[in-house]
């Protein structure tokens, strides 16, 4: 029976799907009025104007008057009810959040109702290294494996490494107790990893010469080799510069996360080549080291030439309000182009998945959303969300719509990730 269903799905997938009449915002180019999008077998086959050839056997979807754009990319989220490292140590590069996520979590239904189709799910920021993050598509799945976005088939990497500095990892009765100690502990572990890496290189493929397997070292070698990106939670301007300093010392690839005082060091961030994943919140305050967080970060980073994305940090900002964050960026001086990129292709670059998602281009994954109107308007709703050519959310279906608006017992089985004082 499973085989039969599988083959039926495969059959329906191979029928081209043509979406006509919408204003298409491909991100990779100028908006197309009365555009045509054709997808097949989970991929985009064509994007173009009204003259685009539509295969005779295609299923037609008239989406006139709507806006069609790539599915959104969230570079920092805590959905899926996973966890990370414990307090036995502050350094857990061996720990995988992948092993703890509930693929059936109802939070994923909420995520797609907000138009998000790729998510970087991370463990918390209460530790210097809380574990490996996971890049997923929030599509219906029985196993986490079905949801993974594998960055590189050769390495099999499907996530980054979560790091944090500033006050969150500090322990009043333990280690690290200061910022300098935090940096020293991270440097020490990376020096161990450099030595481990040298042993592997010296073995030159001879299994008998290889160092003993060490999960912590193996992960950090991936980081040193540039195969795994570091996502570094950081708020204050000096902590931002410390994160950059360590990345430059060891040559690893860096995405700055939150970057609350980015507006003070935007040029230094640009100079370093680091990416900036930022958050929009409705008022400053509440967290002392982030007290100077204001919503001009998008504008300042764009002006400095930094690749900048908005994230939700769900539950800090709900996954249903990622587009809103981009709009608040525009309100505070970001260009509309950069704002739309900040929730699509810019985030994809931070996860090494820009060849698959983040824009509507031939050959890319068929991940897209259909909006009722202007993407940056409060009155606009996500009407449909498609992942790899399958519709995963439809607002006209009352059960789906409930996840967009909320209601009685919708999220009953969900244990929301709570940061406490450490997000």
């Amino acid at each position: 029976m499973m085989v039969l269903i599988g083959s039926l799905l495969a059959f329906s997938q191979s029928t081209p799907q043509a979406f006509t009449g919408a204003t298409i915002i491909p991100i990779s180019g100028e908006p197309i009025n009365n555009g045509v999008l054709i997808v097949q077998d989970g991929e985009i086959v064509a994007v173009g104007d009204a003259d685009t050839d539509i295969p005779g056997n295609a299923d037609l979807h008239d989406v006139s008057g709507k806006v069609l754009m790539p599915g959104l990319v969230d570079t920092h989220s805590h959905v899926g009810e996973g966890d990370g490292g414990d307090y036995s140590s502050s350094l857990h590069p061996d720990v995988r959040i992948m092993d703890t996520i509930d693929p059936r979590s109802k939070e994923f239904r909420k995520v797609v109702s907000g138009g998000i189709t790729s998510v970087n799910i991370m463990p918390g920021s209460g530790l210097l290294m809380s574990g490996q993050t996971v890049y997923v598509k929030p599509k219906p799945a029985d196993t986490i494996e079905e949801m993974l976005i594998v960055v590189d088939e050769e390495t099999g990497v499907y996530g980054g490494l979560k790091m944090a500095n500033g006050t969150n990892p500090l322990r009043s009765n333990g280690s690290p107790g200061t910022r300098a100690k935090s940096a020293a502990m991270v440097r020490e572990l990376f020096i161990d990893a450099q030595e481990y890496q040298q042993k592997i290189e010296a073995a030159d493929g001879d299994p008998s010469e290889m160092p003993e397997r060490d999960l912590r070292m193996e992960t950090l070698v991936e980081v040193l080799e540039g195969k795994r990106i570091v996502h570094n939670h950081t708020h204050r301007h000096d902590d931002i510069l410390t994160a950059i300093r360590l990345a430059e010392e060891f040559g690893y690839r860096l995405v700055l996360q939150h970057v609350s005082e980015a507006h003070k060091v935007a040029d230094e961030i640009a100079e370093s080549g680091a990416h900036a994943s930022i958050i929009a919140i409705d008022s400053p305050g509440g967290k002392l080291e982030a007290i100077n967080m204001i919503n001009i970060n998008g504008r300042e980073l764009e002006d400095a030439g930094v690749n900048v994305a908005f994230h939700t940090d769900d539950p800090i900002v709900d996954s249903r309000f990622l587009l809103r964050s981009a709009a608040l960026g525009v309100r505070n001086g970001m260009s509309r182009k950069a704002a739309l990129e900040s929730v699509t292709i810019a985030g994809a670059r931070m996860m090494d998945i820009e060849d698959r998602v983040g824009s509507l281009e031939e050959g890319k994954d068929a991940d897209f959303i259909i909006l009722s109107g202007e993407p940056l308007s409060v009155y606009t709703h996500v009407e449909q969300t498609w992942i790899e050519g399958e519709k995963v959310y439809d607002r006209s279906n009352p059960e789906d719509r409930d996840y967009a608006t909320g209601g009685y017992e919708i999220f009953r089985s969900t244990n929301m990730h709570i940061h406490g004082e450490r997000h």
Binding site: I281, D282, S283, G285, L288, V378, G407, Y408, R412, H419
Partner: protein, 414 residues
């Protein structure tokens, strides 16, 4: 210990400052109003009390609205200072917040919204803790909020009193609209987080009833002119039972809302329901009790007792005929406050619509709070609290271009 000492010194100093300010104000006969004469021209002026006016003009004189009408009806005197905007609305009202008691640093020294030494403290006055110069008060003002109903937070059986202030002014005396608006009462599981006892919801209700029974006796003796020693706790609760002030009752789960209504019937006090995440489950009962609702922030996180929040609740309350208003609420972390305008926007976009959302954010809130004689609409004789925008007040990309409170331009959009 040192910290406590410093805090006390600070508080004493603030009280002294307040007294000096009152004395000076009384001497000059001048508070926050101004004699500036201003003409606000709006491509669309939402008066809220009446139809929107295209190409409207609002004349402001001596802190109050002098005249409002279309450009064909109103002549602008030549000496009036002119301001133009695409959209003009009345000053917005945040119907439940804790800013001014809660500060943005979120450190012990600026968190006065919840006193945890005792779960029943109706005698705590908001005016004794309100910091008019708090950053967050000014922050809300720059988002178009000109009036806030603020005070003690949810989370105690009775946490204290609330007050109404304008978001301008440098002292509580300058900002004040109403010193004693409600007594904040909570039903539900949040009390258990802050106190060893009551440690259950049922015990909290028992404690509340016992206090109200004692207050009934106190109120009866007071009415009869019998001798009794003054008791601040009982005075406040007697005022509640005598209908002089109202209860601002926080409850989120449907069964907690029903318990709140049960206790209100038993003691017959005037009440505003606040929070009310599951109000949509018991709309008929709320309507029957004839109780207005200050609805939770629409973007509140769906967790704990708020797990079942629904962005369409305001639309459902409108349909049921229940008066409601918006609030920024109480936030313990990030963001330290929400913005009622942004919360109303989410309701507007989720079936409520623009006009009803704007009404609830202005005149509707003023009516619930009992201050509609002064604020909430652009009408002759009302306080000149006006907000100027470059577009739809609820759109994310719209900017505030000016805020006028009591006839004074307190923010110019820069």
């Amino acid at each position: 210990m040192m910290k406590l000492f410093d805090q006390n010194i600070m508080k004493i100093r603030n009280v002294l400052f307040g007294l000096i300010t009152v004395a000076l104000s009384a001497a000059s006969g001048f508070l926050t109003t101004t004699d500036a004469q201003i003409a606000v021209q709006g491509e669309t002026v939402y008066t809220v009390s009446g139809e929107a006016i295209q190409n409207g003009i609002v004349l402001i004189n001596n802190g109050v609205i002098e005249e409002v009408g279309s450009e064909d009806e109103v002549d602008i005197p030549s000496d009036y200072e002119r301001h133009e905007a695409a959209v003009v609305t009345p000053g917005l009202i945040d119907a439940r917040t804790v800013v001014g008691l809660a500060g943005y640093y979120n450190q012990d020294h600026d968190q006065d919204q919840l006193e945890t030494s005792n779960a029943v403290q109706p005698e705590l006055r908001a005016i004794d803790a309100f910091n008019a110069r708090e950053f967050l008060v000014n922050y809300l003002m720059e988002e178009g909020i000109t009036t806030i109903h603020t005070g003690h937070a949810p989370g105690a059986v009775i946490s204290g009193q609330t007050m109404i202030a304008k978001t301008s002014g440098e002292t509580v005396e300058e900002s004040l609209v109403d010193s004693t608006t409600t007594i904040a009462v909570t039903f539900g599981p949040s009390i258990d987080n802050n106190y060893d006892s009551p440690g259950t919801r049922a015990k909290a209700v028992a404690v509340l009833r016992q206090n109200l029974i004692e207050a009934r006796e106190y109120a009866d003796k007071r009415a009869a002119g019998e001798d009794q020693s003054r008791n601040l706790k009982m005075e406040a609760l007697a005022d509640l039972l005598d209908g002089k002030i109202r209860a601002l009752v926080s409850a989120h789960r449907a069964h907690d809302i029903m318990t709140a209504l049960r206790i209100q019937r038993e003691f017959d006090f005037p009440m505003i329901l606040e929070g009310a995440s599951e109000a949509y489950v018991v709309l008929d009962e709320i309507k029957e009790a004839d109780i207005p609702v200050v609805i939770h922030p629409l973007m509140t996180r769906p967790s704990g007792e708020r797990k079942n929040v629904d962005m369409e609740t305001p639309a459902k309350m409108k349909e049921a005929g229940i008066p409601f208003a918006f609030q920024s609420g109480y936030e313990s972390y990030v963001p330290k406050t929400r913005v009622a305008r942004f919360e109303a926007a989410i309701a507007a976009a989720n079936e409520l619509g623009f006009e009803s959302a704007l009404h609830a954010l202005t005149l509707g809130a003023a009516e619930i709070l009992g201050i509609d004689d002064r604020v909430g609409s652009i009408e002759e004789g009302k306080d000149a609290d006006i907000v100027l925008y470059d577009g739809d007040p609820f759109e994310y990309v719209t900017h505030i271009e000016g805020v006028i409170i009591n006839g004074e331009i307190v923010y110019d959009g820069e």
